[in-house]
Symmetry: C2
């Protein structure tokens, strides 16, 4: 009988560890405004890139299918509902074999703009969310964090609150 | 009878113009070493980005499925046969509303490295090709143009002749 308890105990412990390990690896909390991290964003296609010399970061802007379609057909003012822009940010560094080339170093954050003119009418029609670092820690103490995002985007109000202009492609 | 000839003539002329216009839009010549421009490269996924301050260009490096798989599993020294890297290059410019942000301006070129250790053994296992501008004019006078590409990549011989290190992603 003791042997049976022992086996059951072992199975339970194994199950517990596996579950905890799996959830620790995959769990990314939603932003304080309820936005969940868009799935598969690392596989999205290219919209543009940039290099910010004020905070020494390299950025790549990707878009979901709707955003890509809008970008390639020039329908980006306004962007259509359902378009999502993902901005991936790295600290910049100098290439060890090409000193005048600036390349991505540590991953800093991933941030998103989700277009829904009605749902997010209070912030220019865009829902904002950001996750920090390789651990993808959620950004913002409460739902008001979007005021910081929105405030920074007001200077580009005439470009539908978007800094990025899709990079020209042949 | 003259009327019939007139109509036939009109149909032929229309056909001719449509065909010429269509081919003018889609025809991209192969590189002098026979490499054809990889189809659909604008839809490939992200490998990395860079900013070259010596020639004021922003670059994004994309990869075909095999390259992405290699990059994400850390199998890039050497890269596997079949991997293709695409580098898209734009002249840099300052963002009109964010003076410290450098963003892509005119499209300069698209260039490719195609891994096939045997086929391209004379140039480090890589086939090189480049097309210039929005018109995608082929680069290189004859097949020897690859010596220029290869020569420039020799300093990164220990990294399988590739300057790009895949950008870290969560």
């Amino acid at each position: 009988m003791n042997k049976l308890y022992g086996r059951v105990f072992l199975v339970l412990i194994t199950f517990l560890f596996t579950t905890v390990a799996a959830s620790a690896k995959t769990e990314v909390l939603p932003a304080p405004n309820g936005i969940r991290m868009p799935e598969g964003y690392k596989d999205w296609r290219l919209i543009s890139s940039s290099h910010r010399t004020d905070n020494n970061t390299l950025r790549v802007i990707l878009g979901n299918d709707m955003a890509i379609q809008a970008a390639r057909s020039g329908q980006t003012n306004p962007w259509p509902d359902g378009a999502i822009l993902a901005k991936l940010v790295w600290k910049d560094a100098t290439h060890e074999k090409w000193p005048t080339a600036i390349v991505p170093d540590k991953f800093v954050l991933a941030e998103f703009m989700i277009k829904d003119a009605k749902k997010y009418s209070a912030t220019g029609g865009w829902g904002f969310a950001r996750w920090l670092g390789m651990e993808q820690q959620v950004y913002g103490k409460d739902a008001d964090f979007v005021q910081e995002c929105y405030g920074c985007h007001i200077p580009v109000q005439k470009n539908d609150y978007v800094f990025t202009r899709p990079a020209l492609l042949p």
